[in-house]
């Protein structure tokens, strides 16, 4: 990808990254409310082996290793598998959810690192650096990647809006939701799917290591500001879009800064600004 091609794509990349930021903020609000923040981290790291496998599969099938939809599908497959492994292993009572989270995250990421070293030995894979995928690079995104991101983000956002009520009730009071006949398992699976879709939609831009920041940090900032779930979701989406744009622009302005890292810093700054507010609002209540 040459510099001039990126220039032509800048507006598209910016639009894509803002939509991703908004989506991540909105989905993250529900992930945080359901207390699944670390699953977002697991899903991000666990996308790595899937992306590497998809690259190798694409090469083997003659589609080319850098086929966007194939990379998304591969990343989503292993991210979903890992997200499923965490609760399954948590049922082993000697480990517990935190232990299961750590084991699964490290295991999938380790596998991904090994597979990626094979990809980088591959002639077609050497130019797509591991660092780009780990920490994100908006500059490395071509037209096809942006289109895939826009389509996936739009579909995910639509699903979130459609199931807003169910996701809200389950996050607030799981037993009540179940007693009311809502499909709690189905809604939890849906939330995991939305989470994974968001992770893979944003992985090239935000990077798989730091994509958790775009899901959780804007949502945490919005929670600090208080209000009802609709307001919190909207604020998280706005903070997400703004910090994603800031990250893309900063990484373009300062050579060598990965997009995901710049986005993360912007989101963390937004979060820090809200901390005193949350502190004093709580103090006033107490």
């Amino acid at each position: 990808m040459t510099a001039s091609a990126i220039g032509a794509n800048t507006l598209g990349v910016l639009a894509g990254c803002m939509l991703f930021g908004a989506l991540a903020g909105a989905v993250g609000t529900f992930v945080l409310a359901r207390r699944r923040a670390l699953v977002a981290d697991v899903a991000g790291h666990a996308a790595l082996p899937g992306v590497a496998l998809a690259f190798l599969a694409g090469e083997a099938l003659g589609l080319g290793g850098r086929t966007p939809w194939l990379l998304l599908l591969g990343g989503a497959a292993t991210a979903l598998l890992a997200a499923w492994c965490v609760p399954a292993l948590s049922r082993l009572r000697r480990i517990g959810p935190d232990g299961a989270t750590a084991v699964v995250l490290a295991g999938f990421f380790g596998l991904g690192a090994v597979l990626f070293s094979i990809v980088q030995g591959h002639p077609a894979g050497s130019q797509g650096g591991l660092r780009t995928l780990l920490f994100g690079s908006a500059a490395a995104m071509g037209r096809a990647e942006v289109v895939a991101l826009l389509a996936l983000a739009t579909a995910t956002l639509a699903l979130l809006i459609l199931f807003l009520r169910g996701l809200t009730v389950v996050a607030f009071d799981e037993d009540f939701a179940r007693s009311a006949g809502l499909p709690v398992r189905g809604l939890d699976l849906l939330l995991t799917l939305l989470l994974v879709a968001t992770v893979v939609a944003g992985m090239q831009m935000a990077g798989i290591v730091l994509v958790v920041a775009m899901l959780i940090t804007p949502a945490a900032a919005a929670r600090n500001l208080g209000g009802r779930i609709g307001r919190v979701t909207a604020i998280a989406a706005i903070v997400g879009a703004a910090t994603a744009a800031a990250g893309v622009l900063a990484s373009r302005a300062i050579a060598g800064v990965p997009t995901g890292a710049a986005m993360t810093l912007a989101a963390t700054a937004a979060f820090l600004v809200t901390v005193p507010y949350a502190h004093f609002a709580r103090g006033a209540r107490a």
């Binding site: 009520r165 037993d175 006949g181 209000g227």
Partner: protein, 251 residues
């Protein structure tokens, strides 16, 4: 179908727990007449919450010959059965207003997608007013007192307009005012033919608030009218020697 003869809640031979082969409650059989008001009492760890959750399908391992809500199964009777969980089990930092929570009581009949209509939304407001929280409709739930939070949960059940109310420790850790007003709301429901089953741990107030009681210690020790259930002998059996002080109100 819903003739007065069919019990509001009936269970036979129910055994349930969180782990396979380690039941918390065993061989539970009872039936609640329509319009009755029953306390489920017993020592800590006796399985009171587990029992009501098991009937509602919220416990992983449940075996029973029969569990009937309003003469039918839970799936059919769902919108006529209101469950009020323990207040401590809920995330009160959740971003919602009191009215948001009460409106959730409309969902059992609306499902995932049907829209909340204006007249049903009015029901939620009325329910909040009934528990004395009309002014708190827009208040963030985290800013309510413990007693107010409990009343919000009861209002959610009222908005559901159920026939059977199952409450888990509604009187735990609340102020005296809330206790009195809550008891009044529940008695009002009973007087309109609704059935109430509440887990209750304060033996001193069982007589004040309830007509009937079920005394549980993993199995049912006694059931019937409060005065019959709460004898020195049954309480000693369920609680051991320490309970004698609590049981001292016996006439």
């Amino acid at each position: 179908m819903s003739g007065a003869a069919t019990p509001a809640l009936e269970t036979r031979g129910l055994t349930a727990g969180y782990l396979r082969d380690e039941p918390v409650v065993r061989d539970i059989s009872f039936s609640l007449a329509r319009g009755s008001m029953t306390a489920l009492i017993g020592p800590n760890g006796a399985g009171k919450s587990t029992l009501i959750k098991a009937m509602l399908g919220l416990v992983p391992f449940v075996a029973a010959e029969r569990i009937a809500f309003l003469g039918t199964d839970l799936a059919t009777a769902r919108d006529r059965v209101a469950y009020i969980p323990q207040r401590s089990q809920i995330d009160w930092n959740f971003p919602a207003s009191a009215l948001d929570i009460v409106e959730m009581g409309l969902y059992p009949s609306l499902g995932l997608f049907r829209r909340v209509r204006r007249e049903t939304r009015e029901k939620a407001r009325e329910a909040l007013a009934t528990v004395g929280l009309a002014d708190a409709a827009r208040t963030q739930i985290g800013e309510l007192s413990g007693g107010q939070q409990q009343r919000v949960l009861v209002a959610r059940a009222l908005a559901q307009d159920a026939e059977l109310f199952i409450l888990d420790e509604p009187f735990a850790n609340i102020d005296a005012f809330t206790e009195t007003s809550l008891a009044e709301v529940l008695r009002g429901l009973r007087n309109r033919g609704r059935t109430i089953l509440a887990v209750h741990h304060d033996l001193r107030s069982v007589r004040t608030h309830f007509d009937d009681a079920i005394l549980l210690s993993h199995t049912i020790v006694a059931q019937g009218a409060v005065t019959q259930v709460m004898t020195d002998a049954t309480l000693a059996q369920a609680y051991g020697f320490h309970a004698e002080g609590h049981a001292g109100t016996h006439a």
